[in-house]
Every structure is written in C-alpha cells, then in structure tokens.
Amino acid sequence: MTTDPSQLPDAEALINILADKLQPLLQKNTALVGIQSGGVWLMQRLLAKLDKTMATHAIDHGTLDVSFYRDDYAKRGLKPDNQPSQIAFEVENKHIILIDDVFFTGRTTRAAMNELFDYGRPASITLIALVNRGGRELPISPQITAMDLSLKPTENLQLIQLANGQLGFTIKSLTPSNHQAASKHA
C-alpha cells in the first residue's frame, strides 16, 4: 500500500539543502562514505553538487555494504543482493562523512561504524541523512539532516531512483510480519 505521492518529501529539494549544510564541514582530509544503496545514490548526487564549488581537489569517497556487520544476520541470514564495500582511500586519520538516505533505528549506522573501523582509525565520523524519520533504538543520531519527520513504526520511507534519473521517496505501510524486515534496511 502506497500513500499519496504528493505528500512525500521532495528528495531533489532536500538534496540541495543537505549539500548546502555539508559544504562548511569539508576540510582537506574529509572523505565521504555512502551506505548501500540509497546512501550511495545520495553521495553521488552530493559529490556532483560539491564538485562545482570545490574544484581545487577531488574528494575521497567510497561505499559500504553493511551486510556482513548486521545485527539481524543470525535471525534473517545474509542479504542475497549484497555488494562489495569499496573504500579505496586510507581511512586512518580521515574525517569521515557517513551518508545514509533515511535514518531510522540507528542499527545500520552502528554496523557501518564497525565496518569502517576494520579499515582503520578515522579521526572522526559525522553522520548525515536526507531524512530523520524518527524511531531510533540506539544512542546514535545524525548530526545533519535536510528534514525531520515523525513516522509511525509501521511506515517505511525509502529513497528510490525514478525513471527520469532523479531521486524520489516511497512510503509503504507494513504488516507486523514484514515490519522487522523493513527496519533492517533503515
């Protein structure tokens, strides 16, 4: 079941807001890391926008698929469509901007931080998300968001790629049995 699309946040407008907020955080040894899959799409869009204003040097960036670090593996098994994590730069002493599309429980962030530390010891990690939808279950929260919402636990907000190449949102109502399945993605 999908609610009226006109009531959903405008992802493209939020990306512009997020890029503006991200800009002052960038320093010489900043690196961007997108979390699969929405966070990676978002990172690519942010990089394109930031590059216009930061032509002096290329920003290090990489992607994480946290499948091997999830806390629900014992219950749900390995996600079949996992992708290799790709961090080609030295994590040691970098200021990492961790990028997720929708912040929900904080469990994905925890998994991502654990994985990052297996690459090295970063100088700092900053979490940014397009939307904080509420519902965190861990003492983790994003430092920068473009929008804060308060969704019901049974509502699942997801970033999607639209046919025209732009990003958009969908929201799905979950039955109790697939509620858990969705929360593992957030």
Binding site: D65, S67, F68, Y69, D72, Y73, A74, K75, R76, G77, L78, P80, D81, N82, Q83, P84, S85, Q86, V91, N114, E115, F117, D118, Y119, G120
Partner: protein, 322 residues
C-alpha cells in the same frame, strides 16, 4: 523430489554437490564471494558474521590446502575452528563416523566441513544431523568437491566475465576426479556453451558424454581455440592397476606444455586445483607463466568458502526454525 541440500523454501541448508543446485543458488554464492574478496585486503581481515559459532573441519582424508583455506575462511568470518584429522584419531580406535559427529555436536559444533575417501560420506552425515547443523562437502571419494568447482568458475568469471561465450577444456584424469565432476556441473549449470574433456580412454568414466561434454582423446585437437584450460592432477594414489604406461609417457601425450598451450586462444587462462605434479600433467614454465591463474584460484577459494559458510549459517527460513 526432496533435495537434501535445500530447505523447503529453496534456500541452501547444506552444500554437498553442485549437481542438483539451481543456477540462482550458484550465482548467489559467486556474487557473495565477490563481496568477500575485498575483506582480505583490509587492515582487519575479518567480519563478525560467525562470531560465537563453531566450525569443525572433519577430515577423514588428508588435504593441506583445502583444510587450510576452509580454516582461514571460517576464521575470517570470526568463527571458532577445530580441525580434526580423523584418520589419525578415534576412527583408528573403531569409532563410527556418526558417533564422531554426535560427540562434536554434543560439544556444540554448528557446522561441519567434511572430507572423506568414500563417495556419499557428506550426504550420509547431512541426513543424520539435526536441523540447526550445516554440512559442507570438502570432497567425497570420486563424487564431488563443490567448493573447488565453484572457486574454479569464480576464477574463470574474474578473467572471462561472459560465461555464455566460452569454450572450456578439462584435461586429465576425469575418471578419478571429483573436481572434474563438480566443474562440469558448475560450468553447464551456469550456461557455458562448450565444455570439452580431454583424456585417454582409460581415464574417462563410462558415458561421460551424458554430462553434456565433448570428448577428445587428442590433446592438440581438444585445446584448439579454447578460452580456458582446466588441468587436473594425475591421481596416483587413486589408481589401482596400470592405467598408464608411465608418468613420462603421460606428460608427452597429456601434459600441458607451452607448445600445446599455444593452440588455445592467445588470451586463454590455465587453472589447476593443486597440488601440481610438475613435469607430469603440467610443465613448470606453464604453471608459472603469464597465462596461469593457479595462485589466484587459491586466493579466491577462501572467498568462495566464506560465502558458502556465511549463506549457510545465517538465519533459517521461517517454518523450518526449531
């Protein structure tokens, strides 16, 4: 028909043979292995998936490489690993296989990696164990060596990504080779259009054509224009009676030399499951040459074994949970 390797919903429960597994599962293992390759290149070469699980390597038949790579794979998944060479322990005191397994389950082992000289040994154990225990076949008699078959295909895919456009030759002792059988099943299931086997008549199983392969007795004709050459080890220890005149004679006819390699496509790759008999089935110059991918096979073997273990040990599908 009930497939002992799969749960009722089609997910992998045991990994016993390539035969009988759908293409989807083979691709799931290969794709997951892609994600594990990079883990070995990190500062910390470990992921926490199997933390708190105990993997038991149960080797009723010796093997250094296979046991080591399974051990490394389990350790990189953060499992606790016990390796038993059973032929030197309680079996020699008369304990049955199932008693050995039951004792290890009583010690809370979660997964068994089994190698045995008898075909069907891993299936036999898989039928016996409770729901939450997983069995991986690390080679049973002449029957199957599924992780080797898959790591070979994984290696091929790394160098030749389009499997649907390949000509592959498997050369040597097909008769005694569980590796060859697993390779043939993996290649044909994944859509490789032409698989050739090259061997003397005495080293081919009866009706090998039924596996969907083209048979060659002349190595030069068989290697013509192939993309991939998979050499097999001449299994002296499995040969009873004189199937071959001599090792020198074999090398002359079926050994891979630079000259014979030049009949294949110029960018053909050469695989060998190890351990190699240099100068018997493969010339040293070829084994160490530009076209050899024998050492990458070993590296990728760890990623494939990690993928199989990680898929098996994850949550069981609902309805089968105890």
């Amino acid at each position: 028909m009930h497939n002992p390797q799969l749960y009722s919903d089609g997910q992998l429960r045991h990994f016993l043979s390539i035969e009988g597994l759908p293409k989807k599962i083979l691709n799931q293992i290969l794709d997951t292995a892609e994600s594990f390759v990079g883990v070995a290149e990190r500062e910390v070469k470990k992921v926490p998936l199997l933390r708190g699980k105990t993997v038991c390597n149960l080797f009723f038949e010796n093997s250094t490489r296979t046991r080591t790579t399974f051990e490394i794979a389990a350790k990189r998944l953060s499992a606790d690993v016990i390796s038993l060479n059973v032929n030197t322990s309680s079996q020699s005191k008369g304990e049955t296989i199932l008693d050995t397994v039951d004792n290890l389950i009583a010690m809370h082992a979660d997964m068994f990696v089994v190698r045995h000289a008898q075909s069907g040994a891993a299936h036999f154990i898989a039928k016996h164990v409770p729901e939450h225990i997983h069995i991986i076949n690390a080679g049973d008699g002449r029957h199957s060596h599924p992780t080797q078959g898959l790591l070979d295909v994984f290696t091929i895919r790394k160098y030749k990504p389009d499997l649907h456009n390949l000509r592959v030759a498997i050369v040597g002792d097909i008769l005694h080779s569980r590796v060859a059988r697993s390779e043939i099943h993996a290649l044909t299931t994944l859509g490789v259009p032409e698989v050739r086997v090259i061997a003397p008549k005495t080293l081919l199983p009866a009706e090998v054509e039924k596996l969907g392969v083209h048979v060659y007795h002349d190595m030069r004709a068989g290697l013509k224009d192939v993309d991939v050459i998979m050499m097999l080890r001449l299994q002296n220890e499995r040969m009873s009676g004189a199937m071959l005149p001599s090792a020198q004679e074999y090398f002359k006819t079926y050994g891979l030399t630079q000259e014979k390699l030049s009949l294949a496509k110029p960018d053909a790759i050469v695989l060998h499951p190890g351990p190699m008999n240099r100068g018997v089935e493969i010339d040293s110059g070829v084994a160490d040459g530009q076209q050899s991918v024998i050492l990458p096979q070993v590296t990728y073997g760890i990623a494939i074994r990690m993928a199989v273990m990680a898929i098996l040990a994850g949550g069981q599908p609902s309805g089968t949970q105890s």
